[in-house]
Symmetry: C2
Subunit: 182 residues, 2 copies
């Protein structure tokens, strides 16, 4: 645990591309998934699901899904991470709710919020992760037997790290915040 | 500042529907927006923009946009919040990047992650907020002069609160986490 204030934790978090061989424990994994579990969702429908992938053979398949996008470089670094967390969302979860009018949009939003909590929890443990959004959905779906009612949202490689990658620059608030109207 | 560990902070955060008259200071607002600013984005393109609305007249217009959705109840509680933060996203920000192949999806994901950081920062200050996703986009766009290249993602009422609303129940991890495959 790195014991940072929240305001420091959000600045400390960054996409990590280098992982050590140190295994990820069950306790660490639970800590990370528990944070994701508490993310908000429209009408509290909780559309997010997670697949935890540890086996070398399955991680190879997950990596393979990132190599099958036209015009996009394969993301080889994810193979080094001992755990891949696949984040899925279920748009049909909103059925019968007011929020069903935007069920696909809301399911993506809600699962993205869960991913943010997950990434902060990883950082809080002093570990590393990366939000990988570019992958071949159909290839991943087939290899991990993901049913059609779930949409794969992201692949999150997770591991211990000694990476010294610095946080990337951000636009200053004055360029991204407006007052009263645009 | 409530000084909770991160794991407690994520459980403490909930949608708040009751706000006091206590004004939101510039420092508080900066703290909240600063956390949102540090959220990750695909290729660090930072597509998220914020409009801070404080004037009664403008907040009335924001509220009005939530009353114009067929089959959805108006969300009157947002009028009580002294500040509304309107979160916008810019799908064209990915132009020329690998990630542009999914620019609309990624812009929604990235801005949702920023909202999660924002909500946690509000909680960290002991204040309250709510993620309002159901509103009439065109009405809000017109009233706040939002240009067509930006998509309004959410209305976030923010304020001080004495709300005793308890966090809502979550599904247990065993119901939402799978191993290796589905």
């Amino acid at each position: 645990m790195i014991n940072l204030e929240f305001s420091e934790l959000v600045k400390k978090r960054r996409s990590i591309h280098f992982y050590t061989d140190e295994p990820v424990t069950e306790d660490e994994l639970n800590y990370i998934l528990e944070a994701a579990r508490w993310a908000p969702s429209a009408g509290n429908v909780q559309p997010t699901r997670f697949i935890v992938v540890r086996k070398e053979e399955t991680r190879q398949k997950v990596w393979k899904s990132t190599t099958k996008i036209k015009g996009v470089n394969p993301q080889n670094f994810i193979l080094k991470a001992p755990v891949h967390i696949i984040v899925l969302t279920e748009p049909t979860a909103y059925k019968g709710r007011q929020s069903q009018v935007k069920s696909e949009l809301f399911s993506i939003q809600d699962s993205s919020a869960a991913i943010m909590n997950l990434l902060l929890a990883v950082t809080d443990l002093g570990m590393g992760a990366c939000w990988v959004g570019l992958f071949n959905q159909e290839s991943l779906r087939e290899d991990l037997q993901i049913p059609s009612y779930l949409i794969p949202v992201a692949i999150i490689p997770v591991g211990h790290t000694q990476s010294k990658e610095k946080p990337r620059k951000r636009k200053p608030l004055k360029d991204i915040v407006f007052y009263e109207t645009m």
